[in-house]
């Protein structure tokens, strides 16, 4: 979590190899992303902030495209696509081109594309922005079920409720620096707060008040 411009997306971009860190090393699954990017890319999947899908491909074709990037066998790919489409109610619209989808549907497709390869580590950059409350709840349930499969999820969010519902550990960054890290309960205890929102405001609001 972090205010706008804190560096959440930049952090994800560094972790998945899209930008080079100016300092330090990124290790994913024991692999150095700069020295062995191909090995890292087999382990991860990224759901970017914007709905990064091919507008002229159908929903189903978009998911299949990224499944093929991970060399999934055809039968397994078909089965996985079917299951994913049913999970978030995109099945009916799966034969329509992505450019005909509403904003919320594109966001759902964006998420499904990231899940096709059953990644060990999943990066979700504000995955529920632009979704209506009903779909957002359903997506949270879905992300919770992925978490239950013992996959690592690194999720950035502006929704305190989302972090409380989904995250085992919360990191708060501000001005590109990690300013808090720990399980939500521990953070609340440390900052004598009743909820994560208070923690967030105490940490990031102080800087605003101090005019930093």
């Amino acid at each position: 979590m972090g205010p706008n411009g804190a560096g959440k997306t930049t952090t994800i971009n560094m972790l998945c190899g899209l930008i080079k860190p100016t300092d330090g090393t990124v290790l994913i699954g024991g692999y150095n992303i700069e020295k062995n990017p191909h090995a890292v890319k087999q382990l991860i999947s990224v759901c970017p902030q914007e709905a990064a899908v091919f507008p002229f491909l159908t929903g189903r074709e978009n998911i299949e495209y990224f499944g093929n990037m991970h060399l999934m066998p055809k039968e397994k790919l078909n089965e996985r696509v079917e299951n994913l489409l049913k999970t978030l109610d995109l099945y009916e619209a799966s034969k329509r081109k992505a450019k005909e989808y509403s904003g919320g549907m594109k966001r759902q497709l964006n998420l499904l594309v990231a899940l096709i390869n059953e990644p060990n580590i999943l990066f979700l950059d504000e995955p529920t922005v632009g979704m209506d409350p009903r779909v957002r709840r359903k997506t949270w349930e879905f992300i919770g079920s992925i978490k239950d499969e013992k996959r690592t999820i690194i999720l950035t969010t502006h929704y305190i409720e989302e972090a409380e519902a989904l995250c085992d550990r919360v990191a708060i960054i501000d001005y590109g620096k990690l300013v808090a890290l720990g399980p939500p309960k521990k953070l609340m205890e440390e900052h004598k707060s009743e909820n994560l929102e208070e923690v967030f405001l105490k940490i990031t609001g102080r800087r605003i008040l101090e005019g930093v």
């Binding site: 998945c16 190899g17 899209l18 191909h38 890319k41 087999q42 991860i44 999947s45 990224v46 970017p48 914007e50 709905a51 990064a52 899908v53 091919f54 507008p55 002229f56 491909l57 074709e61 495209y65 990224f66 093929n68 990037m69 991970h70 060399l71 081109k97 594309v113």
Partner: protein, 251 residues
């Protein structure tokens, strides 16, 4: 390199072409439409004299070899728009987080840009024949025309990559593409600008394609050494442009 990924890129490129009316029109039908218009307007006008081999030709017939090259030039526009389109939607960045390699993208695209010039050539040739184009047609000659057009296509993909990488968005790419399109159109395709400007044509990739196709259709023989020189020059230009384009795209 994995076949599954290459074929996926190839299929996606073909779907992009077929399902995007703007790309489809500019890639396959724009020049065919031009052939029809010029055929009607200049099919019976003989102001440019006989061809280089002494056969009387209408202005339209003089133009047809250059029109083949022109259709290849238009790929710059469609490809540059497609590259910036993928960048604007964020798909390009997303692809970079998958195991897809630059080599697989390039081979997949090259496959699709082998099919497109074959379709272009077939459509233009049939349209031109209907409109009164009367070349010397041999099987090996037509195959050679396809070879020239495939090189023209690869060259334009390279120029499209350069344009798409430099341009900030799809709209800018559309405008910027004309920096590469217009000079080739004027000095290396179907427009005759007079002998004085011919030297400028030597710097245009499309000039060698127009010249080569002219020799094939009107000379009718593949033993012409200048035909092979034209092919060699376009191959070298294509290689250089493609390497620059890929380097820029990777960055």
């Amino acid at each position: 390199m994995k076949r599954q990924r290459i074929l996926t890129v190839f299929r996606m490129e073909m779907k992009k072409l077929i399902r995007t009316p703007l790309y489809l029109f500019f890639s396959l039908f724009f020049v065919a439409l031009l052939v029809v218009i010029l055929g009607f307007a200049l099919g019976n006008v003989y102001g440019w004299g006989p061809d280089a081999y002494g056969t009387p030709r209408s202005i339209f017939e003089h133009m047809v070899p250059g029109l083949f090259a022109y259709s290849g030039i238009m790929i710059i526009f469609t490809f540059a728009s497609a590259v910036t389109g993928d960048r604007d939607t964020g798909v390009q960045r997303r692809m970079k987080t998958t195991p897809l390699t630059s080599g697989e993208v390039i081979v997949g695209q090259m496959l699709s840009y082998t099919i497109i010039p074959i379709l272009q050539t077939a459509i233009i040739l049939i349209t031109a024949l209907i409109m009164g184009f009367n070349p010397i047609i041999t099987v090996e000659g037509v195959i050679m025309v396809f070879v020239f057009m495939i090189f023209m296509s690869f060259c334009s993909v390279g120029l499209g990559l350069i344009t798409g990488t430099i341009a900030k968005d799809a709209r800018a790419a559309g405008s910027l593409a004309f920096i590469f399109i217009v000079p080739q159109q004027l000095f290396g395709s179907f427009i005759y600008m007079g002998e004085a400007t011919k030297v400028i044509g030597y710097a245009m990739p499309s000039y060698y394609v127009s010249e080569g196709i002219y020799r094939i259709f009107y000379g009718g023989t593949l033993t012409d050494i200048f035909l092979w020189v034209d092919l060699l020059v376009i191959a070298i230009i294509t290689l250089i442009i493609y390497i620059i384009g890929v380097k820029l795209y990777d960055r």
